[in-house]
C-alpha cells in the first residue's frame, strides 16, 4: 500500500464467537479514499471483519483503530464513530414503518440533531444521487429490491459518513437489479469515498478496487492490487476460488 494515512487499521486482531475462532490475527489497513474489495468463501469471516469496523461486533484482542479512534466494547466514542462509518446490508434493512424520506432524515434529525428542513434537503440531494428522487413519499415495501438498496445507500450517505461499508449489497437482488446498485456504488467511488466492500461481483471489483483481499477460515490469505490479484494470485486457494466464481 502506498502513501496516505490509514483511516482503518487492524493490528493483530482476533475475534471469537464463543469457542469459534472467527477472525485470526488480522492485520490490515485502509487509507483515506481507498477502495477495498473483500472476497472469500462463505463463513470465511468477511462479514465479521467489516462488522468490527463500526462496532456491530467487537473483537477480542489486538488493536483496531478507525479514524484515529480505538474501537472496543464499551468505548464512549462508539456512537460518534458509527456516524462516521456508514453501512449497507445485504437485506437492505430499511425502516418499514417510515417513508423513504423519513428513512433518510431520521438519522440526521435524531442523531445529528439537524433541523427537519436541513435533513430533508440533504435527503433529497442524496435521493437524486441514487437516481430515485420521485420515490421520497413511498414506503420501502412499495419499492423494488434495487430501489430499496439504493435508498439504503442514500440513508448512509445522509449521515455524511466518511467511510462506507458494504456487506454483499447485491446478493439479495434479482439479477436485473444488480447493475443499478453497482452503478451507484461506482459513482460513489468516483467521489473519493473510502469504501470497504464485501462482494463477489468481480466486474465491479475490477472497475473500482484499489486493493483486493481474499479471506479464508478467518484469515486474510491474499492482499493485492486488482491487476495482480486477478491475473497472478500468490495463493493456490485464492486462484481456485477465483476460477470457481469467474466461471459463473
Amino acid at each position: 500500500m502506498t502513501g496516505g494515512t490509514p483511516i482503518i487499521a487492524f493490528d493483530n486482531v482476533d475475534k471469537f464467537y464463543g469457542d469459534f475462532h472467527a477472525l485470526k490475527d488480522i492485520s490490515i489497513s485502509v487509507r483515506e479514499g481507498e477502495r477495498m474489495v473483500i472476497c472469500g468463501p462463505s463463513g470465511s469471516g468477511k462479514s465479521t471483519l467489516i462488522r468490527c469496523i463500526n462496532g456491530l461486533e467487537f473483537h477480542n484482542s489486538g488493536v483496531l483503530t478507525v479514524d484515529g479512534v480505538e474501537v472496543y466494547e464499551g468505548s464512549k466514542n462508539i456512537l460518534n464513530l458509527r456516524q462516521e462509518v456508514g453501512m449497507v446490508f445485504q437485506q437492505f434493512n430499511l425502516f418499514p414503518h417510515l417513508t423513504v424520506l423519513e428513512n433518510l432524515t431520521i438519522g440526521p434529525m435524531k442523531v445529528r440533531k439537524a433541523s427537519r428542513e436541513d435533513a430533508e434537503e440533504t435527503a433529497r440531494k442524496y435521493l437524486d444521487r441514487v437516481h430515485i428522487p420521485e420515490q421520497a413519499e413511498k414506503y420501502p415495501s412499495a419499492l423494488s429490491g434495487g430501489q430499496q438498496q439504493r435508498v439504503a445507500i442514500a440513508r448512509s450517505l445522509c449521515m455524511e459518513s466518511r467511510i462506507m461499508l458494504f456487506d454483499e449489497p447485491t446478493s439479495a437482488l434479482d439479477p436485473e437489479m444488480i447493475n443499478e446498485v453497482l452503478d451507484v456504488m461506482v459513482e460513489l467511488a468516483d467521489t473519493g469515498m473510502t469504501m470497504v466492500v464485501v462482494t463477489h461481483e468481480m466486474g465491479f471489483a475490477r472497475k473500482v478496487a484499489d486493493t483486493m483481499v481474499f479471506m479464508e477460515e478467518g484469515r486474510i490469505v491474499e492482499v493485492a492490487e486488482p491487476e495482480k490479484f486477478f491475473t497472478n494470485p500468490e495463493s493456490d486457494r485464492c486462484r481456485a476460488f477465483l476460477e470457481q466464481i469467474l466461471e459463473h
Binding site: V85, M87, F89
Partner: protein, 281 residues
C-alpha cells in the same frame, strides 16, 4: 387491441365444490342460528329452573339502577356510577401496568445480568401469587404500612398483576422485530434508547396490538375482584343492590351483560385501530 368485455367467462374447468354439508356448516347464517339456539336454551333453562323454584322475577325494577327521571330531572343510576368506577379503575391500572410492563421488558432484554435477574425475579414472584392473595397483601399488609386507601391498593394490585402479562407482550413484540432493524439503527449512530424509541417500538406495536386488546378486556374483567375489599365498582354495586332488593338473578344477569357490552365495544374499537394501523404500514 380490443378491450376484453366485462362479461368474462372463465374458460378453465371450475374447481370442485366442497361437499354440501360442510358448505352449510361453514355459512354465517348457520353459525348465527346455532348461537341463537344455544343462548336460547341457556336462557330457557335458567328461566324454567327459576320458575320451578318459585323465583319472583322483577325485571321492571332494574332500569332505575341505570337511570331515573324524577322531578329533579335526569340522573344516572348506581350501575352506571359503578361502571364509571370500573372503567376509571381499569384505565388507571392499565396505564400503570403498561409503564411497569415496559420497564420490566426492557430490563429483561437489557442483556445486563443484574437487570435480567431483577426482572425475572419480579416476574416469577407475581406470576406465582394468586390475584386475590395479591390484593389482600396490598390492602391488608402494604396498605397500613404505607398508608394507602382501598382504591390505591386496587390500582397497585391490578397494575402489578397485569404488568407481568404486559411485559411478556412487549418482549414478544420487541423480539418479533427483525434483528437487521437493530443493526441498521445502530449503524446510523443511534443509541440503544433512540433505536428503541424511533425504530423498534413503533414497529413492535403492530405485533402487540392484538394481545394488548386481550389484556384490556382481561383487565376490565379482573377488576371485579376488588369488590372483595368493597371498592364501589360495578360488581360491588351489584352486590349492594342485591342485598337491598334480593333480586339476585336479575342483577347478576344485568351486571354480566354490562361487562359483556363494555368488553365487546373495546374489542371492536381496537380492531378498527388495528386495521387502520395495518393500512398505514
Amino acid at each position: 387491441m380490443i378491450l376484453a368485455p366485462d362479461t368474462h367467462v372463465p374458460k378453465g374447468r371450475p374447481l370442485p365444490q366442497p361437499p354440501r354439508a360442510s358448505q352449510v356448516i361453514d355459512s354465517v347464517t348457520f353459525s348465527i342460528v346455532l348461537y341463537a339456539v344455544i343462548i336460547g336454551l341457556i336462557v330457557y333453562g335458567a328461566y324454567s329452573g327459576a320458575q320451578a323454584m318459585g323465583y319472583n322475577w322483577q325485571w321492571y325494577r332494574v332500569p332505575q339502577y341505570f337511570y331515573t327521571v324524577t322531578d329533579d330531572g335526569f340522573q344516572w343510576g348506581e350501575i352506571m356510577q359503578g361502571l364509571v368506577k370500573t372503567l376509571t379503575l381499569s384505565a388507571t391500572s392499565f396505564a400503570f401496568a403498561t409503564v411497569l410492563g415496559l420497564i420490566i421488558a426492557l430490563l429483561r432484554l437489557s442483556g445486563l445480568v443484574v437487570c435480567t435477574a431483577v426482572s425475572i425475579g419480579f416476574l416469577e414472584l407475581i406470576r406465582n401469587i394468586p390475584l386475590l392473595v395479591l390484593l389482600y397483601l396490598f390492602y391488608y399488609v402494604l396498605g397500613p404500612i404505607f398508608g394507602f386507601d382501598r382504591y390505591t391498593a386496587s390500582v397497585l394490585t391490578l397494575g402489578v398483576f397485569h404488568s407481568v402479562l404486559i411485559s411478556e407482550i412487549f418482549r414478544a413484540g420487541i423480539n418479533a422485530v427483525a434483528k437487521g432493524q437493530w443493526e441498521a439503527a445502530t449503524s446510523i449512530g443511534m443509541s440503544k434508547g433512540q433505536a428503541y424509541r424511533y425504530i423498534i417500538l413503533p414497529q413492535s406495536i403492530r405485533f402487540m396490538l392484538p394481545p394488548m386488546t386481550g389484556e384490556v378486556v382481561h383487565m376490565v374483567k379482573s377488576s371485579a375482584i376488588v369488590s372483595v375489599i368493597a371498592v364501589a365498582e360495578l360488581t360491588t354495586i351489584g352486590r349492594n343492590i342485591i342485598s337491598d332488593t334480593y333480586m339476585s338473578f336479575e342483577i347478576w344477569f344485568t351486571i354480566a351483560a354490562v361487562y359483556m357490552v363494555v368488553t365487546l365495544i373495546l374489542s371492536f374499537g381496537v380492531s378498527i385501530v388495528e386495521k387502520r394501523y395495518a393500512v398505514s404500514q
